[in-house]
Symmetry: D2
Subunit: 427 residues, 4 copies
């Protein structure tokens, strides 16, 4: 009983924390800021606030709280992004035209659902609580994803405001400013490596599963992220004008979009400025480069003589227990075995929470991947086409939302997420 009470308390605490963080993220924004949509890939902050709320209403309250009354029946249509049948939903590129419900009405919607959820969590008996716990946890992780998306989308929106560069906030630096070490290489021994989430370790999305073994060659990984200074060297060496450095699709995209530098960089005489959530400011040479596409990351890696790591290499390097257990019983038996000595190498810096690191891996299902039943099962699988995996989390990722098995994914042309580069090389 003590355990159940703890679980209930923990769940309530986490629910309140995540839900209120979303409101904190929105709070510096005006109603206009929250309603606008700067491109089809982005969504208004107001929509993020409502859509994450809809998740709890649709998957928890409607199913498990029999007396729950929606505050407005139209919301289940307006804030549902899950069903793709043509004509069913408000078209995604027009979310910015949805001036109603207003921000105030969305706040009321959140409060209404929060009250019902908290009542449900407080009053359900243990069996009922157990039945909804996984859905609630999924809903909170889902909301954390949208917290990061909301900040990405606000930054992009502010970049289109014309001569005016609004600052989202002034107190909180976007990227941790630490002087990086000189570029060095950490060698990681190959072997049969377990990849994917170990379910005994807590929550993971479906796309991190099932855990399985893969075979890796030994490889080297840069000890830190690529810096703005290094990226300027790429620019200065005509990196954006040499097709031989680029994937064919990347070159085509770079030409069509007239890319000359990372997103948000602007030439200011001989130097560069960039847009941050704190406003526009000069590039800091030692900071990790951010807002580059996969195409640019790949071209940069080729120019530098290296390559991007695969997502399995990255996870192998970032995991504390990355070695396939069944081979560890007799470490002398095979040259394939890594030794534990290089596990979690302290030489690897900036692995988590700086910038998302592009990998060389397409976003595809792991062997024996299965989607869950029902609409929730739609979660990740249907996006496993045309996208590349990023790892590690960024400075705007909620801090308890990153893990070594976490797979983020975006189209190779996308740049508005906080994406950067860590170089790899063959051993």
């Amino acid at each position: 009983m003590g355990t159940n009470t703890d679980r209930r308390t923990g769940l309530l605490t986490r629910f309140r924390h995540v839900r209120s963080l979303t409101e904190s993220i929105a709070s510096p924004l005006t109603d206009e800021d929250q309603c606008a949509q700067s491109m089809p890939d982005a969504s208004p902050v107001k929509w993020h606030r409502a859509h994450t709320t809809w998740f709890f209403e649709a998957f928890v309250l409607d199913a498990f709280a029999p007396r729950y009354q929606p505050i407005d029946d139209r919301y289940s249509y307006l804030f549902n992004s899950y069903y793709d049948a043509v004509g069913d939903r408000h078209p995604r590129p027009e979310r910015g035209l949805q001036t109603r419900p207003t921000c105030a009405e969305v706040a009321a919607y959140r409060a209404h659902v929060d009250a019902a959820m908290i009542e449900l969590l407080e009053t359900s008996d243990d069996d009922a609580l157990a039945a909804i716990e996984d859905l609630v946890v999924l809903g909170l992780h889902h909301e954390q994803q949208h917290q990061e998306l909301a900040l990405m989308d606000v930054k992009h929106l502010f970049s289109r405001n014309g001569c005016w560069d609004p600052a989202y906030r002034t107190s909180h630096p976007e990227v941790r400013r630490q002087q990086p070490p000189p570029l060095g290489w950490v060698e990681i021994a190959g072997g049969l490596i377990d990849i994917g989430h170990d379910l005994s370790m807590g929550f993971a999305f479906d796309n991190e599963q099932p855990r399985h073994t893969t075979l890796l060659d030994s490889f080297r990984l840069a000890n830190r992220l690529t810096t703005c200074r290094e990226w300027q060297a790429f620019i200065d060496d005509d990196g954006y004008s040499r097709p031989e450095l680029w994937l064919s699709d990347g070159w085509f995209t770079a030409q069509r979009e007239r890319w000359q530098a990372p997103l948000y960089w602007q030439a200011d005489g001989d130097s560069w400025t960039t847009l941050t959530l704190d406003g526009r400011r000069p590039i800091v040479d030692s900071e990790p480069v951010v807002h580059v596409s996969h195409y640019e990351a790949d071209a940069f890696a080729r120019w530098s003589g290296g390559r991007l790591p695969t997502e399995f290499e990255w996870e192998a390097a970032a995991s504390p227990h990355r070695v396939a257990g069944n081979l560890l019983t007799d470490p002398d038996r095979s040259p394939l075995h890594p030794t534990t000595a290089d596990v979690h190498d302290p030489g690897l810096r900036q692995l988590f929470g700086d910038v998302w690191e592009w990998t060389a891996s397409a976003y595809l299902p792991y062997p024996k991947f299965r989607t869950a039943d029902g609409a929730v099962g739609d979660y990740n699988g249907k996006f496993m086409s045309g996208q590349m995996v990023l790892r590690g989390g960024s400075a705007i990722t909620p801090v308890d939302h990153v893990r070594s098995s976490y797979r983020n994914f975006f189209a190779p042309s996308a740049r508005w997420m906080f994406s950067g580069v860590r170089l790899a090389a063959d051993a």
Copy 2:
């Protein structure tokens, strides 16, 4: 002096009236409503409020009020729609992304400029007042145009809100509800007709000038506007599916856009509803059809066996003194002469202030048309390509902004203005 005082007072009264009407129009709207832009042809209401203010700042205060200090130097860039050089201005399709300045800041901008303008109008000596009077009047007529545009744009925006049909207001019907008479024809005698604004009659835009004489054949004009009932008959007779009724460009557009009815009409079983500023409601059969393109108006006219009037025919029918004076000296001499008996025929109803009436005339300069010098001269001339003329004003046109010589103009595919049809025929 009395006259000058009267002029000053009149100008101040008119300035205050027009400026405050704009704010009244915006007042039912939330900040989100005022910021969104539903299509490239539309603008946010916030932008309309700011752009009309910029006009007075740029053309009056900057030139004639030496001590005037702008509230923000960036506004002259953000709210200028006049100069088209590529890259100079915030791109028009992205006005809805301009969440800053906020609605509150725009209100402050308006108050700042209003105060400076009122001070200037109150304190200028008579010569100075005379120097700016024409510009101020032009600015007020410009603002009245944007008052109508703002309502068109809000209506379009609300139509894209998804399942939700917001009502802009509830008290004020969009179109005057009067039972129209049976369709009848008024015959207008042809002759040499004076067209264009007589400058002794008050303000007119440059495109209504110069007044000149044109030769018209006798013709017939419908005594009232085409009704929704008549339009439904066109729909029921497959009017939207018969290419032989349509101009080639019109047919192509109707197919591409899948037009089946006027804009905002939705089939609801066997009947139709439409969106109004008061919300969605059933079609009223006797009301004038509204929100049809020139292409549809032309196809409807062909289907009905008639045609659209030319803008000169319309103006001849609508003008109290439309007969060319120099030929009236001997009305018996030529069959071309109209008699005064048919001038301003009382049989013609709904000429002003119901819906804009599409004409068969392309929007082109009148003979000897000259643009004014400078940027203000850019006003109308550069749009004289690819558009068709509409006459008469609509229910949302400010009541003192309509006159028989007024030329409105839109692309033949546009439907979001309050546009309808009056049939014409050869005599």
Copy 3:
């Protein structure tokens, strides 16, 4: 009877002449040249050859030659451009994909229809001949239009051949090379002018009718066409970079299409070359500028301080009997009357058969314009939207296909026809 025999002989002679000229025009082209389509507005030469043949089959043979057997039933579908119902016809932009029927098969189609037509013309009795004569004449004028289109389309196709600039022919200069006189102005008196074709004068298209009277102010017309030298001065004076010279749509188009000079001009160091049907060669300063859009023509005219003439001004200046007859009885009675002295002023050069001259007139129906019944009636009316009128004919217009009332029309952005400029000004 003698007359009827002459008519029959004349019709046969004309039929043979026009039909064989089409084949002569195609003869320098390879099968590949005849099949390709360089843009949606253009058609393959093979299609022009077949479509003009289909006209005789569909409108004459199918209706009047009971024993006529089509060579292939599919041709009536493939080569019909007249009916616009969606899905009915091969899509126009894909005409170049129609590799079958081959050029040889199209030649056989032409021979098959020619034989049937000649037999019909030779063997019909007089009444039957009278019944088809107008259709045959219309078909021949239709074919002459396509002769010019074929040459326009070949020239455009050859311009897209890459580094290779094929020459269509070598012996026949594209534009008559004559030293033009210095630019001068011919003043034309205004008045009530008869416009449109006098049917006693032979064939005319429906859009040149009905003849009617219009009122013109006196005006001035340049004595010759604008030259390449003058156009270079416009370029050198940054004419393509100054938005104040351009219509709004024109400026937008010029920016989007990156216009810097007339179509086919290429900068070669400090000078320019152009593509002609004889291949690429340097610009000749004294030649009329050709391949400019209405937008460019209008901007050039504004830059030069003049304007484009209206189509009525042009026709008034170009017509031998342009004065409204009913006013000529007493030339002293009104200052509006022109005198016969300025009719057909010898000072006006290059009026016919040099380049099509853009006018300031939108392509709209004349008063009381009526389309003919049936599909043939579809001829011109449905294109009366969004286009501007050109007058005078070009060097590639069949010589007996030009007259003062002839109205050619193209979109204001089109440049691939042989279009140039004659300046006008108010008197």
Copy 4:
């Protein structure tokens, strides 16, 4: 020396064979057929003939035949597809506008290069021959790829000919007609599997290398290809209308393109016809379905309860020596070892030369993949983005151009190649 003579003779024989096969493939086509380009992804047959010739000119003759004189210097520009710098080359979507050089001129170009190549191969001393042999072999494999592309492109072109369905040939069925066995499953044991080309086995493209070991789970593979009958069941079960079966991008594409069936299928009452190189004919139920996209293949597999195989699973199943050698020394030691008994299981039919089989694998470089130096090295690597791997070859793949390690690749939306489906499942 005998060996060298044999190599020389073999190379000459192969050169003559491949080069003449290209001409045989083109021979049923008219000049028009060979010049047209039906979409940007396709190329004219004439271009394929010239581009494959340019390869020998640019990479062999220009480098190794000092006295070689090009027949036309412009060809090196026109027929080079390798360098992507903007503006350098004729734009790919406009290859169909290149009516010059003509088919006859391209034939002369081929003969000119063939003569020079044969002279070079016949007269080079052994060292010189050794220096060019790899390039010549690469050029011949390159030409074989274009032989298949030419047939794909012709088929697509003929599908756009309107009501006319030309037949490319009549004697040679497109797909081998054999009665397939009932659908069954072959289980393949997992383990450490060697993937990629063993260079001792002859030619392979760079993308098949380096050979490396991967770890596979046991899996099952369908004993034959998916048939048209099975695909019709998918259609009849609303497979094209159920978004839950589709990848998100796939659903979006299917809706936008209005896919209802494989490419070239047309509903004919209750049954279907398809276009083949032999013309249009009814679907044959027992034939493999062909011309489906990866998106459709993936949706079909999900609907059927299976999945697509990875490219490694496919290669493991299709390779005669697929088992990692170093593990075969003691087959009892690990459950991962497959036994040789299931190698090349006779139960697997239609593996090679029927239709290309979509895999679940993105087209990415193998570990330690390196491109060759210089322009030839550009061969495959730059396309390793956004595409999916297909295996096995189709009925139009040259018979000596297929091998178990061969990786074909196309965008997941592409359908004009001869692509089909073999189902897989977890063991």
